[in-house]
Amino acid sequence: MLRIRNIHKSYGRVKAVDGVSLHVENGEVLGLLGPNGAGKSTTISIAVGLILPDSGEVVVGGVGSPSEPAVRAMMGLAPQAVALYDDLTAAENLDCFGRLYGLDRSARRSAAASALERVGLSDRARDRVKAYSGGMKRRLNLATVLLHNPRLVLLDEPTAGVDPQSRSAIIEMVRSLRDEGRAVVYTTHYMEEAQRVCDRIEIVDHGRVIASGSPDELIGLHGGASVITIQTADSESRFETDDPVSELTLRLRDPGVMGVRIDRPDLESVFLRLTGRSLRD
């Protein structure tokens, strides 16, 4: 559904995107995981045609470049900033955006009702957006993406600044989009989210893809061993092991064990091993 080949983009001496290639298929959630400033949003902007790359190619739906308006009709973008008109109601916002995608009045009404129900805002349709909470605005931000039934959905940090309840709702919605057969590109710097929702992950740092694969593949290849921490009365010991269960069983035979902890590798440790930095740095 989306194919990006070797795109480069520089701003002066800063290389924002340095030879990124990726693809995402229908019925799949592709995660772009990386710290702030890694080049995720720039990649998304290139993918939707907002920015022209210095070099490389972007093809959407096997049809053409996103710089063409007809190609952009196949895509929906939920930008990182909540892009809504505060002085309009939710229904008015959706109606306006629906018209931009060429929907007639009846189609707009049913699409808006469906989208609002999906994000749990049907009862707030006639309230102005400025009265919404941050989580509600994020959900409405997501609803605008679904109006025109796009085959490719791009979500740029969709849970930024959102309460845990809204975050869970958004993640569930993303999964349902995938289950409907849509292609989803999901950018985040939250490792836990990426592990929960993404089928494949591209780890991005300094404008480059430094690793890609499913979460389990990445952890298996780059996560390192599990770490078992054994606490006794007067000391604490740490042991790396690829078989934490067996190792733990062995260690528990030692007398004086007062506490144990198992730290399994995750995407955070993957990023740390690949870059020497934490995702949250």
Binding site: V48, V71, P79, Y85
Partner: protein, 455 residues
């Protein structure tokens, strides 16, 4: 086209929801038009008079006659005081526009009409009111000539003046014999002329009749001619209406403009400026809040986005103009002389300010700076273009500079349809300039926007 209309209708709906923006677009201009219309009308339909304080230090019949003449002048509001200093102090304090001091000895200098330096009065004018200085000097000269006229209407008085003139000539040294001889001959001729005037033909100036002072002056001149005396004055001034073009049948156009006919075009301009500023700030807000990104990601072209934004601004300026014109016609009797001319003028003004709006929006990195930049630019253009102070108050170099201001051309075009009774040929230049400014602003703005977004 639906996408363009979707963007335009959304922007206009947002303006309606913005109470402050709506007020400044529609009602503030109306307040401006009515407020200044009332001021310029004199606060009740009467022409504003010049406040003058007169200090009569002479106290003679002649000085009192001059004071009465000034008090009777419909262009002056006269207050009489006894001393010089309080009169000057009033002007210094800004309580009066001018002071006229009739010095001691004024009455004596009135005599010797045909051979004297003439009576002298002192005139002091508030420096901020330099336009009134010329008017007051003209008025005083007029009153001086009026006194000369009266001398000729009363032959006995004129003969007395002549006698005093001869005596003064006799006493004056330094006049050459040839010149003295010529003057004496002149006096002899005048005496002979006065001798043939019948004493009983004392032509008192008639009161202004029901047809007004213009007609009364004409009657007076005619009577003077019949008596053998021309209404002696160096120049006669007949008023004409310079605001109306005479139509082909010899009749003039609609009624003369009121002060509101002058202030409502300025009010329309204030409304148009408010619209341009409001929409430019809204466009900056779209950029900073991210909604412009949504528009750009939608399957529409950049030109459709710009067209939608421009259409919203244009339609709102039209609505403001129609609103003010309707109020002006219904309440203040401001009737356009030509609806087609006015319509074209309003359309060209709207298109001009759409271009200005686009340029301001692109040049502003934030809403706050957009507000400052917009008001700074528009107020400056308004100041030099006659949107605040009429052009005739300005010095020559500033009037020359005003040609760069779209405000000047907008006011000229709208006035052309509202009360100047302009023809299509006279509308070409202002409208061409307005359209050129609008096109330049739109193209420059679009170009800069694309450069910014591709950066």
């Amino acid at each position: 086209m639906d996408a363009v209309w979707a963007i335009a209708s959304k922007d206009m709906r947002l303006l309606l929801r913005d109470r402050m923006g709506f007020f400044f677009a529609f009602f503030f201009p109306l307040i401006v038009a009515v407020f200044f219309g009332v001021i310029f009308s004199g606060g009740g339909g009467r022409t504003a008079r010049i406040d003058v304080v007169v200090a009569d230090l002479d106290g003679t019949d002649d000085s009192r006659a001059l004071v009465q003449q000034l008090a009777d002048d419909p262009q002056l509001a006269v207050e009489v005081v006894a001393d010089r200093e309080p009169a000057v102090a009033r002007v210094r304090a800004g309580k009066s526009t001018a002071v006229i001091v009739i010095p001691e000895g004024f009455g004596g200098k009135q005599s010797g009409l045909f051979f004297s330096m003439g009576a002298e009065v002192e005139l002091g004018v508030d420096p901020a009111r330099f336009a009134e200085r010329g008017m007051l000097e003209g008025l005083l000269i007029k009153h001086g000539f009026m006194r000369m006229q009266q001398s000729f209407r009363r032959p006995a008085l004129a003969r007395e003046e002549l006698k005093l003139s001869r005596d003064r000539l006799q006493r004056t040294e330094g006049i050459g014999p040839v010149q003295r001889l010529a003057l004496n001959r002149l006096f002899d001729d005048i005496e002979a002329f006065l001798a043939v005037l019948p004493e009983q033909v004392e032509l008192d100036p008639p009161d202004d009749g029901p047809e007004g002072p213009q007609a009364a002056s004409e009657d007076r001149g005619h009577a003077d001619l019949q008596s053998g005396i021309a209404a002696w004055q160096p120049m006669r001034i007949r008023s004409i209406d310079a605001t109306q073009r005479q139509s082909a049948d010899g009749q003039y156009g609609p009624r003369p403009p009121s002060s509101f006919a002058i202030t409502f075009p300025q009010g329309i301009i204030w409304g148009v400026m408010g619209c341009a500023l409001g929409f430019s700030i809204a466009m900056v807000g779209e950029r900073t809040h991210g909604t412009l990104l949504r528009l750009r990601v939608a399957p529409i072209t950049p030109w459709q986005i710009l067209a939608g934004k421009s259409l919203a601004c244009f339609l709102t300026t039209l609505a403001v103009a129609v609103f003010l014109i309707a109020i002006g016609a219904a309440v203040f009797d401001v009737r356009p002389t030509s609806w087609p001319i006015l319509a074209v003028a309003v359309v060209c003004t709207g298109l001009c300010f759409v271009g200005i709006m686009m340029l301001l929006a692109v040049l502003s990195p934030s809403e706050r700076s957009g507000n400052g930049l917009g008001w700074g630019v528009l107020l400056m253009l308004s100041m030099i273009g006659g949107g605040m102070l009429p052009l005739f108050f300005m010095p020559g170099w500033m009037r020359t500079l005003s040609v760069i201001s779209p405000i000047r051309w907008s006011i000229l075009a709208i006035e052309g349809g509202l009360w100047r009774n302009s023809n299509w040929g006279e509308l070409v230049l202002p409208c061409a300039i307005l359209l050129a400014i609008g096109a330049a602003g739109l193209l420059a703005g679009a170009h800069l926007l694309r450069r910014q977004e591709s950066a």
